[in-house]
Symmetry: C2
Subunit: 412 residues, 2 copies
């Protein structure tokens, strides 16, 4: 009676927590002029193989469908984005500012912060190669966290530039076919012994270590930090050239967002990928792009570990299921009258509940309390008057049934 | 570059339309005291086989995962609901009023109103066998449509009772193992020639046709209609004993919702299923239940075909992406000042956009219009004053930058 390993059931409280995260994500994205879109959970496997090479298949929930198609549950959104943008881009003004909250799936060993599914906010800005696009997208990533109450003391955007490294490799006459492997070595250098990295880098070890130890300067990144400074967000960013990001398709600025304490996996990551749409559309459509993804699992952990962030969100969550009104039917002969009013009250937009069968008055009040109702209405001997009880203060009053809505409008 | 057959891409307008439907569904469900939950997209195939028999597998997107598990993309939510409720029911007060909006998948021939995926609102009321539970759940189904503006002239709930038929079969000494097949014949009778049905029914043809032609009376259903009458919803319901619903697990009242014109497939369907949770949990947990499902595809078609319903929803949809403010940067040297203010305006909760690179003033105003911005702010020669232009009226005024927020608060 368990879900599959790595998959989550969302009981009402979990679901409300998740929805509260999604709602805030949507609000911030819309504040930036981003619009939501979505794509299918299932796509042709070829789409992912084309982007990431044949090795990706080992990590997919993939299969042959009943129509003999090779299909896979989406491990990420970007290939679908490229597919949809290549097909429809002519219908839209540039730049496209698109976001989506897909559920993504990977068949991987489960670890802390990594399940076999997660929801992943994707924000992509397509069709603009200005450096201001990076500024806009990184500011968005930061504001998505600020919206929960996170400060620069708690989270940091580590900023780098793949082009800085490819320039260095080019200057040193390293053949292009070795770049991808060397960039992976640099990406991993933080997590490996220095000697291992040195061996893998060979001749390049000295210049690379010099950069990693703070000797590198990138005017492009300094200008980008300057943009974020104007926005008042510079405290959140830190140039860190050791970030390269494993994915081969990034072409320029890359960044990852972490908790400052460094206890969790990356909260978000992204960068510029100017060639991907062209690659995935066989050159049909070529558009520069910059974007990032932020998962719900790591962010959820960080929220839960940060009391000053968790408490206000928990309050929002509890409000989501709170009732406005609970009807207490003290006499069963009043049930038809109550039923009539239930409908009117709900039509008014209030959240209303009541006991579907006969129950003791005390038990009905308990339900009202359990469901955080703000007001209980008592249908009993006083009819055609109704007793209004404000649940927090305990204040009670009698109101004629026909004036009930007016009075409730004042109270709610 | 197409999605798989039967799967939808949601471009921004489609996605906003879908989200507007979801938002209204959530609002109405919460008005009834229902809380949202969710379950995994992928479940053990055994869960569906157990509920629906081995034939169901032919309609599934099912496969063997990399851990040698038989898994399937959920074709419906109820088996997951039974799984989760059986596991966690002790943690909740009864009745549970739960809703969810899962995406469900079936490998079927595509037809109008039937794709290979759809989103399906599920509402279930669990742990209450009172007839009032049916009243509550059917009222909810009706209010979900009323919330879009549908009237009793446009939609109808066809109401029936499986128990009425099983009582009839019992009275006529029909062995129980034949019931399921006979009920299916009755269910299909509307869509088949009378003679075909008559042959299949044999001795039962006469009494069954007598009922189908209006000779049947059900006190239970009359009482239920009475409940809905008290709520002012009786115009929406019609007792129709020909509705049996194919699914074998219903135990009592069943209903289907249709457009009155009868042009589309069922908009929603459901009923009482008191034995299913016990069956799926191997008798571990036994709880009476009543619920229904409403898909987004048929409802979406009906909305689009009903101008008086579509127009107000389209307005909501267009609002979802409308900007509050567009910044027009008339002089590039003003960009840093504009950038500073973009952040402040967004922090204020307004939806703000601007051109990321230099562009002609006219083109920037075009963008403001295309994004339905209510206000354009002009950063140019007037700095440190900003020109405010109200896009609808064309009214313009100059405001000192430090008083901008105050003035915008008045205008927005």
């Amino acid at each position: 009676m368990q879900p599959l390993p790595g998959f989550r059931d969302f009981l009402p409280t979990d679901c409300a927590f998740r929805n509260a995260i999604f709602a805030r994500w949507r609000e911030v994205c819309r504040g930036y002029g981003f619009v939501e879109w979505d794509s299918p959970v299932l796509e042709p496997t070829a789409l992912y193989r084309k982007k990431s090479g044949p090795e990706i298949v080992a990590q997919l929930f993939n299969f042959i469908d009943k129509g003999e198609r090779e299909v896979a549950m989406r491990p990420e959104l970007t290939p679908s984005l490229a597919r949809v943008v290549a097909e429809h881009e002519r219908a839209f003004r540039k730049p496209l500012k698109w976001f989506s909250i897909p559920q993504c799936f990977r068949y991987e060993k489960q670890q802390r912060g990594r399940l076999r599914e997660h929801f992943q906010l994707n924000c992509d800005l397509i069709g603009d190669d200005a450096a201001a696009a990076e500024g806009e997208i990184i500011a968005l990533a930061i504001d998505l966290l600020r919206a929960f109450g996170f400060t620069a003391k708690q989270v940091v955007v580590r900023l780098s530039d793949r082009e800085f490294w490819t320039d260095l490799l080019r200057t040193r006459n390293v053949p292009e076919e070795q770049w991808s492997e060397l960039l992976q070595v640099i990406d991993k250098s933080e997590r490996e012994p220095r000697e291992t990295t040195a061996v893998k880098l060979g001749d390049l070890a000295d210049p690379v270590f010099q950069v990693l130890e703070g000797g590198g300067r990138s005017e492009k990144l300094e200008a980008l930090v300057g943009q974020l400074e104007l926005r008042g967000l510079a405290d959140f960013v830190q140039v860190d050239l050791s970030i390269v990001r494993g994915l081969a398709y990034y072409t320029g600025v890359v960044f990852e967002v972490f908790d400052r304490a460094g206890k969790l996996r990356a909260i978000a990551g992204g960068g510029r990928y100017d060639n991907l749409i062209s690659h995935l559309s066989d050159g049909l459509v070529s558009l520069p792009a910059v974007g990032f993804a932020m998962g719900d699992v790591v962010l959820g952990e960080l929220i839960k570990e940060t009391p000053e962030v968790f408490a206000p969100l928990a309050h929002v969550v509890s409000q989501q299921s709170a009732l406005d009104i609970y009807l207490v039917i003290a006499k069963e002969e009043r049930r038809p009258d109550a039923l009539r009013q239930v409908q009117q009250l709900r039509d008014h937009g209030w959240r209303v509940d009541f006991s579907l069968g006969p129950a003791k008055v005390g038990k009905q009040f308990q339900s009202a309390e359990a469901m955080s109702a703000r007001i209980a209405l008592l249908y009993g001997d006083e009819w055609p008057q109704v007793k209004i009880k404000q649940m927090t203060s305990g204040d009670q009053e009698l109101v004629a049934a026909e004036h009930l809505n007016d009075r409730l409008r004042q109270l709610l």
